[in-house]
């Protein structure tokens, strides 16, 4: 059976006054049925652009210039806008970062939910309502009937994110792309939201791409991890293997800068420098200016190489694997 999501060589460019700038430069990512994949990287590395490239919701200035995006084997780039719309919400859904902004401030929850429901199902009013209430109950919202009549500003941030999750899961899509859905929330709420999404995806067999810049949440939720840097995936593999023994120098740096991995009071090692912007990308390895392992070879562009089964690294001098 075809994987739920199969991305190959995806490139996405923004048209600017200085010409096309590629925010994504050769993304390869496969997500299997029911799998949870964490897409990790610093802010600006291209995680959101990846999500919008998949669902065809890129900003007007951006377009996919090369590569393939397949959902259940269907080539999404070949679809008409109408056909793409009929997949959105039904086969692939999204959850966004800021629950304060994701829900329409002037429409009641029931309007927003039934609109999403009836976009793909010709249901009567009463039945649509009943389904929406059931969906709210499923994400742990009490008194769903009463909440349906409310406006977003009458709900807390965590509650709003639950509503957004309920909407995204209304049609039991095959794939959900969650773009930093807990970043804007309190730590305690973060854990709850994480648990709700994880449980529902496992129950329904939904594949999940969990976008985050926070490595700390990855270990608990994901099966696999893909690390992004400056528009490329530099390392991917099973989550434990990557976190225990990163092979790419950037992944190593990221893990070392997570507070939990260090004794209290000790200074956190930070990767020196910052990620290059799209206009200042080096010719070869984009991480080279910050890399301690770089050599003359790094002036060329490294391609992804399979370092171990299911383990890909984009580096000329990868760190030794566990036991090696």
């Amino acid at each position: 059976m075809a994987p739920v999501l199969d991305i190959r060589g995806l490139r996405t460019a923004f048209a600017t006054a200085a010409g096309d700038l590629h925010a994504l430069d050769g993304i390869d990512l496969v997500v299997n049925r029911g799998e949870i994949v964490a897409l990790v990287g610093e802010s600006g590395s291209g995680k959101s652009v990846t999500g919008f490239s998949i669902t065809g919701l890129l900003p007007a200035a951006a377009r996919v210039t090369a590569g393939e995006v397949r959902l259940n084997g269907i080539d999404l780039r070949a679809l008409s806008p109408a056909a793409m719309r009929s997949l959105r919400g039904r086969k692939v859904a999204m959850i966004f970062q800021d629950p304060m902004m994701t829900l329409n401030p002037v429409l009641r929850i029931d309007t927003q939910m039934t609109d999403a429901l009836r976009a793909h199902l010709p249901l009567g009013r009463a039945e649509a309502r009943a389904r929406c209430a059931a969906a709210l109950a499923e994400v742990g919202i009490d008194e769903p009937e009463a909440r349906l009549k409310m406006y977003p500003h009458q709900l807390s941030g965590g509650m709003r994110q639950r509503v957004a999750i309920a909407i995204a899961l209304l049609h039991s899509p095959d794939l959900v792309i969650a773009d930093e859905p807990t970043t804007a929330l309190d730590v305690t709420i973060q854990g709850q939201i994480l648990a709700v999404v994880q449980r529902l995806c496992r129950e329904k067999g939904t594949a999940l791409v969990w976008i985050t810049h926070d490595l700390a949440v990855v270990a608990g939720i994901a099966d696999r991890i893909a690390v992004m840097y400056a528009g490329r995936i530099v390392e991917q593999g099973p989550v434990d293997a990557v976190l225990d023994a990163p092979r790419h120098p950037y992944t190593r740096g990221l893990i070392d800068s997570v507070p939990a991995s260090h004794p209290k009071g000790q200074r956190l090692p930070q990767i020196p420098g910052r990620m290059p912007t799209l206009t200042e990308l080096p010719e070869g390895c984009a991480f080279a200016p910050r890399c301690t392992r770089r050599s003359a070879a790094c002036a060329a562009r490294p391609d992804p190489a399979e370092a171990a089964p299911g383990r890909w690294v984009r580096c000329f001098h990868p760190l030794p694997g566990a036991g090696g």
Binding site: T55, L57, R85, P105, V106, D115
Partner: protein
């Protein structure tokens, strides 16, 4: 909600009181109407008679006190020139003005919303640039000039539309209106278009700006990510947000449109309160001028109150008494 309304009404009464002071004393500064009534061979004696008749011999504070007392009973005095209660003159003329202003409002919305929407959705197309150019002109070209050009083109040169008057009227619920007859509509076309231009330009700009802003929000992206049809995303999810500023601004503007229909009514000899005011000023008909100004103030205050209520209905976030997190 009730408390909110009561508080606003109290504010309104205060505003009104201050306005009566300004209006009453202001009008007394601009000239003495007696000389307009007196014929050239009128002696001192006959002048005094007229002054006593009009009640102008009493001290100004007493005049104001009297005026205020009458005002509270809904009496704004008699027009010097017409000899009938000023208010009844205003009520007689007001339907014509209201009809003109309403027609202008409807035109502004009917044309402004779709044009602004288009310009917001395709900001770079030549059509959008033309629309925005038109809205710039609507703001900057003087109304009387547009009115005259319209008359020259459509009445004088082409002979398609009548230049003056209201045309054939029909009575609906005791009010005589022109928009229900073809002749009336032909008379209404040019003045209402002229009066609507500024409002229309405003609607275009607000709708376009609102659309540009709303299209970038996460909630529109989310609606699209849920597969909701584009027509519904734009027509309901985006539109409901855009309408809030449009309705608010138009509501505020509507009172000014009525008050400043003066120019348009003069150009097209539209028999409304605006034209009446110009005539009243020409002969210094104080009670009529004062009555008109008070009337306009009441109208402003009432409309603003209505807009506030409407705004809170449209935008659930400001709804008074609504539970916030």
């Amino acid at each position: 909600m009730l408390e909110f309304i009561l508080r606003r009404v109290a504010q309104a009464v205060l505003v009104l009181f201050v306005m009566t002071l300004l209006v009453f004393f202001g009008v007394h500064v601009i000239g003495n109407p007696v000389y307009i009534f007196a014929s050239s061979e009128c002696t001192r004696e006959c002048l005094n008679d007229i002054i006593a008749n009009l009640g102008l011999d009493r001290p100004i504070w007493e005049q104001y006190w009297l005026f205020l007392g009458n005002l509270l009973q809904g009496d704004l005095g008699r027009s010097f020139t017409h000899g009938v209660p000023a208010m009844s003159l205003i009520w007689q003329r007001f339907p014509a003005t209201l009809e003109l202003a309403t027609a202008a409002l409807v035109l502004a919305l009917a044309a402004g919303l779709p044009l602004g929407l288009y310009a917001g959705l395709r900001p770079d197309s030549p059509v959008s640039k033309a629309i925005m150019g038109f809205s710039m002109l609507g703001f900057s070209v003087p109304i009387f000039w547009i009115g005259l050009i319209l008359i020259l083109t459509f009445s004088v040169r082409l002979g398609w539309l009548p230049a003056i008057g209201r045309g054939q009227l029909v009575e609906v619920l005791g009010v005589r209106v022109s928009f229900l007859t073809l002749d009336g509509l032909r008379h209404l076309a040019m003045p209402s278009f002229t009066l609507s231009l500024i409002m229309m330009s405003m609607v275009i700009r607000l709708t376009r700006a609102g659309m540009r802003e709303v299209l970038h929000t996460d909630y529109i992206r989310f609606a699209r990510a849920n597969g909701i049809r584009e027509s519904r995303v734009i027509g309901v999810h985006a539109m409901k947000n855009i309408l809030i500023p449009v309705v608010t601004v138009l509501g505020m503007e509507f009172a000014s449109v009525i008050a400043f229909a003066v120019v348009t009514e003069s150009i097209f000899s539209w028999p409304g309160v605006g034209k009446m005011l110009i005539d009243a000023i020409a002969v210094l008909d104080r009670p009529l001028i004062v009555a008109y100004l008070i009337f306009v103030v009441v109208m402003f205050v009432t409309l603003n109150l209505l807009v506030d209520i409407l705004y809170s209905v449209l935008d659930p976030r400001v709804r008074v008494g609504g539970r916030t997190r």
